[in-house]
């Protein structure tokens, strides 16, 4: 059967057979790096289009439908237009930090992509501290945001950056505790181990109610961490113009946008990996026929399906809930979600120590 695993394996064998090991490794990392960058660009284009289409259909309009078939090339046109625009730097801005901030945000988003398992055997780097790496590196993006807000010499930017900083660090805690509650079940931080442990069912269903609670908490926390509505205080359009990237124009603005959408993709991919089994097909206990039928769907389709479903849910939030105030936002985290996730973690560990999970 033609799968991504076979293709990568044959390329690997060919490279190591043709070149000496160092050159092969170098070439391989170059190929993988270029693939990741291409994937990154495609993701940005697809997700921006998806956001606009989903918003449009939720408001009973058509959305972009002129450029390309069904508006599919709209984002490409927008990117080209942005590339032709002037990159302004406001007077009195800290020029070095102002130009460093987009780099920071993008590089962080690119680095979190590394341990994500896209399909069976398709993972750039199966690091043994996978989920810890993701939660550690993803919290670096707040530095880029604070940098952008501070360097812009603009009041909107500074307010947006401060809000965003407080919000991201607060919700980091709940997201981390939800991750830990799955780690207690799997006993490993490695992404491939976490996926393998869901062979006979996804943790969302196997882990009883605590797993569902931590799934919900995780989705709320990542919505806040990626500055999405209803937690989009960092760039609340109606009050702060565009928040921390008010002063950015042209390609630098596009880079912020790209990083934001790739971050959404990655957090949804992590949620799918931890709770919905990553690329693992839907298996139910001993229903052998059903399980075999499910195995015929390729693993990459499973992964992409789950991830895009979660992305759709997060986009759905945007048109369902009104925006919170900053004090409501922070008290939601510190007074409700944090104690709840601590209790939930204890409950979850009790379940796994007693072996009550399936």
């Amino acid at each position: 059967m033609l799968s991504i695993e076979n293709i990568t394996h044959s390329i690997d064998v060919w490279l190591y057979g043709t070149f000496n090991p160092t050159a092969a490794l170098l070439l391989e990392s170059l190929i993988v790096g270029l693939c990741a960058i291409t994937l990154f660009a495609v993701l940005g284009l697809v997700l921006v289009l998806m956001e606009r289409k989903v918003s449009a259909y939720m408001q009973i309009r058509l959305g972009p439908n002129r450029v390309g078939p069904g508006g599919a090339l709209q984002t490409v046109a927008d990117t080209l237009k942005l590339a032709m625009k002037e990159g302004l730097t406001p007077d009195g801005a800290d020029k070095f930090l102002f130009n460093l901030a987009p780099f920071m945000v993008i590089v962080v988003a690119m680095l979190i992509l590394v341990p994500v398992a896209f399909a069976k055997g398709t993972q750039i780097w199966d690091i043994n501290i996978g989920v810890l790496y993701i939660s550690a590196v993803s919290s670096l993006s707040v530095i880029g945001i604070l940098m952008a807000g501070w360097a812009s010499n603009n009041k909107y930017s500074l307010l947006g950056a401060m809000r965003s900083g407080a919000q991201i660090v607060s919700y980091e805690l709940s997201a981390g505790l939800s991750i830990i509650s799955i780690v207690t079940l799997t006993g490993s931080l490695r992404i491939s181990d976490i996926i393998d442990s869901q062979q006979d069912g996804w943790w969302l269903f196997k882990g009883h109610i605590p797993a569902m609670i931590s799934f919900v908490i995780f989705i709320i926390a990542v919505t806040a961490e990626t500055n999405r509505a209803p937690f989009d205080l960092a760039e609340a359009e109606s009050e702060l113009t565009a928040g921390f990237h008010t002063e950015y124009s042209g390609m630098k603005f596009a880079l912020f946008f790209l990083a934001e959408y790739v971050n959404i993709f990655i957090v949804c991919a992590i949620a799918a990996t931890l709770f919905l089994g990553g690329w693992m097909p839907l298996h139910i206990g001993h229903w052998t026929a059903f399980n075999h039928a499910m195995d015929y769907i390729p693993s990459s389709l499973w992964f992409i399906g789950k991830t895009f479903f979660l992305i759709f849910v997060i986009m759905w939030f945007r048109w369902t809930f009104p925006r919170l105030r900053i004090d409501q936002l922070l008290s939601l985290e510190w007074k409700y979600l944090l104690p709840l996730s601590l209790f939930n973690l204890l409950l979850m560990t009790l379940i796994s120590i007693k072996g009550w999970h399936f």
């Binding site: 790096g33 590089v107 812009s152």
Partner: protein, 150 residues
């Protein structure tokens, strides 16, 4: 890539990847700089402030609560690292480990309740308190009005 290699050999592809990303970004920005327009008008470099002249510097003073949130985050995030370590050795530690973490998380919750009690978590104005004060003042003034002889 064989997975049993040591970390030192596995780290440099990551570094190479980062460098690749940085070079690509620099190329994109340089291209956009070459293709982009150039203006130097009276208001080109002015920071945006709703279309009017900027009033005062943009380096505002902001609420100290943001600092407080960051401090609280440091406390709880360091604890999260400890809990993560425990979660890895969880099956080996068994009930004794569970009791230990119970005490640890209990302490965390006590800290959280204490912070809540001293008002570290009440960010922004408390609308209910303001409303209560307002009602008290209004009641007093209404009474004063009622006491007037006319």
């Amino acid at each position: 890539m064989p997975s049993n290699e040591s970390h030192s050999t596995l780290l440099w592809p990551l570094l190479l990847y980062t460098i690749l990303v940085v070079i690509l970004l620099a190329a994109i920005l340089a291209l956009s700089y070459l293709l982009g327009q150039r203006h130097d008008d009276r208001a080109t470099g002015k920071p945006y402030e709703g279309g009017i002249e900027q009033t005062g510097a943009a380096r505002l003073r902001f609420s100290a609560k943001f600092y407080l949130v960051a401090m609280l985050f440091v406390i709880f995030d360091v604890e999260a690292v400890f809990i993560m370590l425990w979660a890895l050795g969880f099956y080996a530690l068994g009930w004794r480990g569970y009791l230990g973490v119970l005490v640890f998380i209990g302490q965390l919750l006590v800290v959280l309740v204490y912070e809540w009690g001293i008002g570290a978590l009440s960010i922004g104005a408390d609308a209910k308190k303001i409303l209560k004060e307002y009602k008290k003042i209004k009641l007093n003034s209404d009474e004063m009005v009622a006491k007037q002889p006319w």
